[in-house]
Symmetry: D2
Subunit: 409 residues, 4 copies
């Protein structure tokens, strides 16, 4: 195991740190003000475009992109600490560097599986940060963590696919610049289970696509939205197909690994920010004649947060290293493990930080409550904890079965 | 210990159960619709007034009021199960029965300490459900769980009190019918610590009172609001004084005991509702060929929720019984205990219920996320958990010191 | 719900408290000394017989016995606080008052189901504290929490039953005065599942009965033992049958309810003792210039212990009250609930107490480690936590199924 | 960060794995039998000497020793996985490879600070595995985690040191071959706090040294013992001084770092063994018609154990790497972190494994209960969790104080 950061990684780290300190953190108050002034929860505030221009100018663009042709081409181990840093300013930094989910995953699969025409039409403006995109997989009526449950129909009439069905929790669909959806649906119910699904590239303005509402998380309307979208007789040409018919599940798998690493590292970044705020608050408030920071229970919270964050960061780095060295598939148990561990740790840290802040911690005077809400969704996104734990346990059971048979022989 | 419910208590229980089933639960969807249609988070929806009229007609009015003159005059043990039932429909039932915090506490202290004039002007319309009120104690700049930290100045100029200072987390202040604030402030900084504070009755429309904003909780704007209020040279006559100058802390203490029981029982009611929803969902969703309700981990969550709720309900009943028999002061350790235990248990149950619901559990398609937000505030309201635990521990330390000295002699 | 203690209950409480203070606690050091001096972990120390004589003289004999003919005839609610007090000196007080498991359960079923001859031969000397007994149900080869798994064969040859099989975790079998085993076995493998089992009264010295070893618990050899016993062609006459053939399961069920209440109340007594020791230690040790008792983390442990103990005691009292009023069968969910909750709480309290004591807490200089070991067995005894949680969850699922069908109709 | 294992490390890993499989694991039953047959809890069983001879023959000797002159000279990162493997057979493997605490630490400080004469007399036979040794620091009367509390007096009379005082929890002192104690005591109460202490090398048979008793852990008497030792006018010559007078604290610090890594890695090894046993048991037991291994709650335990073990192993490796690269002192926060985290995780895994085993898990039919006991001591050894958490929190508080001052300027 080697998590050493290359010189190139170090250089990006230094550059990103300066950008965060010089530009992003100072912009946070501006952002809040522009959002409030707009009265529109899905407003696209000018400060974001300024940050994007600045980031691009500093060479901090498409940081996530693993292919050197399109971005810096960093390994997962190199990118992980950058993703953590982006998480410290979750509403600004990922988008400012054009490294925001779900655009990242969409750019990756367009890079891997897109035709030249698809790349030209969609990938190029995405890489340029000119448009946004969404990924439409989850459905309201089924447990979508099992891909074989997907029910959105995609019928081929010899010329076009005709889509009918409903999706929800489609993040980014309410982004003012969202132009395109990558939609997972069922093309052939009679095929073998993991060849039934395909992915189609659907422009948002295609007739029959209705964005019904934005789903709140706790009481928050996310700026880029978690949308419910209905598809009624939506027609797209055959050329909208990503890879081949029946490749939907395979593309979905390819998309998941890096996305989970990014989610987890950003979660750690959010929690590190919360820990800083917790310490600051504990040092500035006094009750019964003693600063909170000198009380044994608060010290325990700080220490436990530090230790838990260290551990889950290392597990995420190990997973990144495995993906870099043996590939996403071989790392799937570890990917499940961080998917369970990172949001769990981050939520614990956030809850402690909120408690130290009193009522203010639940309001928007601090970023804690909104980070908590965001992190809480991660315990379902890409499959609930329970599905991942089940996968880890089954792997462990299989390991012992093998070992016992070896020992017996 | 005797938690038996009297015949009178039983009769109210039956009547309230019918009201909940016949009127309140069916009104929930209407309420949501009226609120959404209004576009105003602080809207006062007509359905609420209809429910109030119905409740009053059924003799389910001022259920909380301990004084037989003004309400049914139930004991704490009798009222506790009713408060739990009200908690099952937290946005409607407490207000429909005119048993909503903080009006309840305000009505109690006006009953106990108000002059005839004060009662006529404020208590009568409160008891009639015609107006609403708020209680202004918490301040943004100090740890207000220590009452001696209160900084809002109340200077007496021989004729009027002049108020200057800031309050926040003032619940109900954004209620469309809120007409009056009971304000805690400092009248004599030179007095002994617990005689420095007084309470004044301040009409909301007094010049100098500005309701600056409603504080969100996890993104939610509560219908009745948690307001930040500024007081700038606010003048009220001497007759606005509740009880005597220097009695502020004493009144505050008198107000706390029953309020905490009510909060805790409502919290248990919310959690019972969540447990019902968790069970329903577990029985209706299937993954990997098995209903969630047959999985060992989900069954553990259900069982643990049931056991924890049983235990915390009993502790709350014991506390109610102590308050009925030996008084609020003698029950103060138990009051601290339920203040820590009930929100803690309820949040655990809610979090499990949310997890079983997947993404939907965080949206407003179910009442879970908003109940979670509401319950999370209870870990600070009336003092954070840590202050209550400290009080319990000190009591326990003192008990052993006494026992050891007795044993030695 | 009414947990009021009757005057009779109060009188016993006072008498037992005096006995504990005057005799039992002072005898603890003597007991330790006699045990160590003997060099025999199963030694029967003289101090125990002295305490028995004293208890009998004070009218504190067979305290547990629900039938007025044989003991004070206390209700479960009356006996519960006494059982808690006995738990504070777990190695002495239960046996000193002839209220020690498993003799208690055995005396109960002999009272309920024994023939006159059986009562004369076994019940009379047990009630007199002259002999001890064991209850042989658990088997090493099957999950015995499911009674239908029981495999010890009891074949009837027209005259005698012939027993073959193995039992383990047979508590009390190594008591120096243990004279008799009540053995559960299978008489008719072809009967319906819960009529296959019978119970036989087997004198310990019957040929073919071999007590193979005492099973340690965390390295402790319990004074009265947890034995592994083999039965090889053990012959007992037909008159050894308790109740009728096929009644084994029914008798087992009758035996369980009160036994679980007793276990749980004694567990609470042990934990209360541990909490006292934790407080004492915290008040007597200083690190970094501050007594442990003033540190926030230690105060949290003390407060949480107090709150958790209050809650689980109330749940146990409620269960006792249900058993007194509606019977053991109707109380079975609550019996499962305390079976899970009480050992869980007690172990948490013990672990904190050990931590406050440092290394000494794990040695025999304090009673903490041995109480921990004893309590840890309760998470399996009479069925592991998981079986009880499953039962509670199924009850809860059935409740909602009924409620929903009622609502729908 | 680079945890890659060198070729040398790999080679040792392979060799040790073969030794474990071929010799150590098969010897476990023999060991148990020899110990039981002896009737002496401190017996030195012949199988251990056979394993030592075999290990030495295979070049697996003094594995821990960081100095190439005396052992393989592995780095901490290289040795850590070996220490984990040794932990899987905790009663045999560490001693078989002459890598057993506290001999390891003693050999290290003799290597670093011993005179030629001291090395010849004590280090040589220790490295040869001919004798054993103990390290006497902890005292019964003070919180010894604060070294300045040490009270054992060491008076110099111009020629000899005269020792008076008491020590306890002195591990290895009951080893049949223990010949020497390294004793920490106070030579100069008037010196500055961390120069008051010195270390003396005291042969066990020096007049005035009395080994009073072996302290049990739960009910276990460790084979090598945790002894209470009294020193009464014990005279040792000046040449017994290790390093200089006043160097006691400094030597103690030097001793701690590697020792903690070893403890933690062995703890992880014990927990991995427990996880294997838990899986095996879950696959072999069936209740209510389903193997335990297919139940959701048991699968959650297995998955959580796997994830937690992965995380804490990585934190331990990071700490080892820091010690190798920046030194023990710079790694002290991480050393505190693993000291808290590793025993905590291991105890959780052990408790789950015990629960899956039912009663048997608490007996000596499986190694679980004795491992639990051993691991529980680690939450105090070298300072209780609370002292380490306090240190971590203070470091974190200082970090933020620095960062804030930097940001402000």
């Amino acid at each position: 195991m080697n998590f050493s950061i290359s010189d190139r990684g170090h250089a990006y780290h230094e550059k990103l740190l300066s950008f965060m300190d010089d530009c992003v953190h100072p912009a946070e108050a501006v952002y809040e003000k522009q959002m409030r002034a707009s009265g529109d929860p899905n407003f696209h505030p000018p400060v974001l475009e300024e940050l994007k221009a600045e980031a691009r100018g500093r060479g901090l663009w498409n940081l996530f992109h693993p292919h050197a042709e399109w971005g810096p081409g960093l390994t997962n181990v190199e990118y992980a600490p950058l993703a953590e840093m982006l998480g410290r300013s979750i509403h600004l930094a990922p988008e400012a560097t054009n490294s925001n989910a779900p655009d990242t995953g969409n750019m990756e699969i367009l890079t891997l599986f897109g035709t030249e025409e698809q790349k030209e039409r969609w990938l190029r403006p995405l890489l340029a940060g000119e448009i946004a995109s969404a990924f439409a997989m989850t459905e309201p009526d089924v447990a979508s963590s099992d891909a074989t449950n997907i029910r959105l129909r995609m019928e081929f009439d010899g010329d076009h696919y005709i889509l009918n069905g409903r999706k929800w929790w489609i993040s980014n669909a309410l982004h003012k610049r969202c132009r395109v959806l990558i939609v997972m649906g069922e093309t052939d119910p009679g095929a073998e289970p993991y060849r039934r699904q395909s992915m189609l590239i659907v422009p948002v303005d295609t007739p029959g696509v209705s964005i019904v509402r934005g789903l709140p998380v706790f009481g928050y309307q996310d700026r880029v939205g978690h949308a419910e979208i209905h598809f009624e007789d939506v027609r797209v040409p055959k050329s909208a197909l990503l890879a081949g018919e029946g490749d939907g599940f395979m593309i979905g798998q390819a998309r998941l690994g890096p996305g989970r690493i990014h989610h987890c590292m950003r979660a750690i970044g959010m929690a590190e920010r919360a820990l800083d705020l917790m310490v600051d608050r504990a040092q500035s408030r006094t009750t019964f004649g003693q600063p909170l920071s000198e009380r044994g229970n608060i010290q325990d919270w700080i220490a436990e947060s530090r230790v838990e964050l260290e551990m889950v960061r290392l597990l995420t780095l190990k997973t990144a290293w495995l993906m870099d060295t043996v590939g996403n598939k071989a790392a799937r148990t570890e990917i499940s493990a961080i998917k369970v561990a990172a949001p769990g740790v981050a939520l614990k840290v956030l809850d402690r930080a909120i408690q130290v802040h009193g009522g203010g911690g639940l309001s928007d005077d601090f970023p804690l409550a909104s980070m908590y809400a965001e992190l809480r969704t991660l315990r379902f996104a890409d499959g609930p904890d329970e599905v991942h734990k089940r996968a880890i346990a089954r792997r462990e059971l299989a390991r012992r079965t093998r070992e016992r048979s070896r020992v017996t022989v």
